[in-house]
């Protein structure tokens, strides 16, 4: 940077740029440097707090027999007291240093775990891991809002997800109370206001992008715990969930985010495609074909209905702002799966063929959009989907080798032709 400033000074002296322009360039770099420093402070503040907090947790886990109860309990509350004190000072002085706030909030969140852990250890209080995580997260929730900490939001979502995963254990109990699933839902919703605020005020920042990934992964991992009577309904339920993710990822607030930071879009698209490919095989349709009609209404079925309903509302909202031709195809898959699944009860083979049709539609739509929007990457993704579909059918159809060979050659030629056409079009444009 110093060399740039030297150059600026030289240009100014040589009369290449005016004094005003030189000052503006200097101000730009000063601002740029400050931003970089502040980011570094936040990163090191959080890293330091995480390491100290985790180190303290490990010291606690050693369980010092030689210390009397009073000293152990003092150690249990010391980190809590210290971090709460720092939090008080930060709020009182109104110091808006993100590094301090994030570091203090991270350490405070870990201090809560330390205090509960040490007290349970000293008194041999049972409490299973799920209960511990639940109490820890409930007590950590206010830290997000009081200290305006996005790092705590991420820790909180991770903790709540870990707690929610215990719902799978709950499934083995009869009758299942679904208490964990309900608590998980409430706890996750409780963090939403801060997450929405992050999206509104700081779109595209590291914390916001990580937030997209954490929320998307959390719901994907835990939604399976609604399974109770018939897991076969979970397949369509997941297709609807991924449909919602795609629509959220394409919403006005998130669509500007770079792809790697758009967890909803990436997870939704890969999830939808993976599930659709799975459904192009006959394994699933063989089992759903045997499903008695009397068992149409298990809990998973309702989950599917609710998710599809939410997806439909989001789709309508998208269509109110965009033309139908602007849709990518993947976001329509969940809606097409509704009649196809119902058809699967009586006509499993037809349903399977229709899913193949849906994948084909997604592939063609992606190729078409890539071609019209002059995006080589997208066009090739579409062609890859098409190739994958052909490869899948290569294994389970009774087509003759001659026909399969011709299809493969046709797809390969399509690849060449499409890319050649696109490059030629770009060159002509230049």
């Amino acid at each position: 940077m110093k060399s740039v400033l030297k150059e600026v000074e030289a240009w100014r002296e040589a009369g290449v740029i005016t004094d005003d322009v030189a000052e503006r360039i200097r101000a730009y770099y000063r601002d740029h440097e400050n931003k970089g420093n502040s980011r570094l402070t936040i990163a090191f503040g959080i890293l330091g707090a995480l390491l100290v907090g985790l180190g303290l947790l490990l010291l606690v886990a050693h369980n010092w027999d030689t210390f009397p109860k009073g000293i152990k309990l003092t150690f249990a509350f010391l980190p809590l007291l210290a971090t709460q004190g720092v939090a008080f000072v930060l709020i009182k002085r109104d110091r808006d240093s993100a590094g301090w706030r994030e570091g203090c909030a991270t350490l405070l969140t870990l201090s809560i775990a330390i205090s509960i852990s040490l007290v349970s250890q000293v008194y041999n209080i049972n409490g299973d891991l799920a209960k511990f995580l639940e109490v820890w997260m409930i007590l950590s929730l206010p830290v997000i809002y009081v200290l305006r900490s996005s790092m705590t939001l991420l820790l909180y979502v991770a903790g709540v997800t870990w707690f929610g995963l215990f719902g799978y254990e709950e499934l083995w109990r009869t009758p299942t109370t679904h208490a964990i699933q309900l608590t998980y839902g409430i706890l996750l919703i409780a963090a939403l206001p801060w997450y929405v605020r992050l999206i509104r005020t700081k779109p595209g920042t590291t914390f916001t992008c990580l937030g997209h990934w954490f929320f998307a992964c959390s719901v994907t991992l835990v939604i399976g715990t609604v399974a109770h009577e018939d897991w076969r309904w979970l397949g369509p339920a997941y297709v609807s969930l991924f449909g919602i993710f795609i629509l959220l990822g394409q919403s006005d607030r998130l669509s500007g985010t770079r792809l790697i930071g758009n967890g909803f879009l990436v997870l939704g698209t890969t999830g939808t495609l993976a599930l659709l490919f799975f459904l192009t095989f006959d394994d699933y349709w063989k089992t759903i074909g045997q499903l008695p009609i009397a068992r149409l209404l298990p809990r998973e079925f309702y989950a599917w209905c609710v998710l599809s309903g939410i997806g439909l509302v989001l789709l309508m909202a998208r269509l109110s702002k965009h033309r139908f031709s602007e849709l990518h195809g993947t976001e329509l898959a969940f809606l097409l799966m509704v009649p196809i699944t119902f058809l699967g009860f009586s006509h499993a083979g037809l349903a399977q063929s229709l899913v193949n049709g849906v994948v084909l539609m997604v592939a063609v739509a992606t190729v078409w959009q890539g071609a019209t929007e002059n995006r080589l990457g997208r066009m090739n993704v579409g062609l890859l989907i098409l190739t994958a579909l052909v490869v899948c059918r290569f294994f389970d159809t009774n087509l003759s080798f001659l026909l399969r060979g011709i299809i493969f050659m046709a797809v390969g030629a399509g690849f060449f032709a499409a890319n050649f056409w696109m490059v030629k079009k770009r060159n002509a444009h230049r």
Binding site: V60, H62, D65, D94, N126, L129, P142, V146, R173, T174
Partner: protein
């Protein structure tokens, strides 16, 4: 605005102290004022990612034969009436779904699972067996001591010479472990002695 943040901070701090504080208050009260029961046990050695090493107390008093008319489910909260057997160890004499009026010698616990079949000392029997999940199944030890404690337990189990039990205080349905004993000596002392002997022989 700042006032609201301060109030929120105060409520947050209060809650963060209240939860562990309540845990301490309840347990201290039970330890000081509770009735003493001795539960025969056999320990194992798992570990908790947050709270470190502990021994898992496997109670000999489990399972209990319940009346076949009793309607209970796994995970349900129940009240068990405790008494002492001829050797002075705790035994379950009754099981109730509703909270009894007199809580003397009553433990609030949860049903873990139910079976119709049980095998004990090589003998099979059929009845309405209820297995409980007691609220005092963990005993925390210093990191190095938990595996040693398990060794002590298995040694005693094979020779059938020692008795291994947990001293539990119970008051108003709540329970707290006071100590884990081997032959009327604290397990921590026995393990400490073992460690000393081990280092002396080296």
């Amino acid at each position: 605005m700042k006032k609201v943040v301060f109030v929120a901070l105060a409520v947050m701090i209060l809650a963060q102290w209240a939860v562990p504080g309540k845990m301490i208050f309840d347990t201290e009260r039970t330890l000081r004022q509770g009735d003493t029961f001795k539960f025969e046990i056999r320990p194992l050695d798992p570990s908790d990612p947050f709270r470190g090493k502990y021994i898992d107390l496997n109670f000999e008093v489990n399972p209990f034969i319940a009346d076949s008319t009793l309607r209970i489910q796994s995970g349900q909260e129940v009240y068990v009436q405790l008494a002492k057997d001829e050797r002075g160890f705790a035994k379950i004499t009754g099981l109730a779904v509703a909270e009894p009026k007199n809580l003397s010698g009553v433990l609030k616990t949860r049903v873990n699972f139910m079976t119709k079949f049980n095998r004990q000392n090589g003998q099979e029997s059929h009845a309405n067996y209820v297995h409980f999940k007691f609220p005092f199944e963990r005993f925390y030890l210093e990191e190095s001591k938990a595996p040693e404690a398990e060794q002590v337990a298995w040694r005693t189990d094979t020779t059938h010479v020692h008795t291994f039990y947990a001293v539990v205080k119970i008051k108003d349905g709540l329970a707290a472990i006071q100590d884990v004993m081997v032959n009327d000596r604290s397990l921590a002392d026995v393990v400490r002695e073992l460690n000393k002997k081990g280092s002396a022989s080296h």
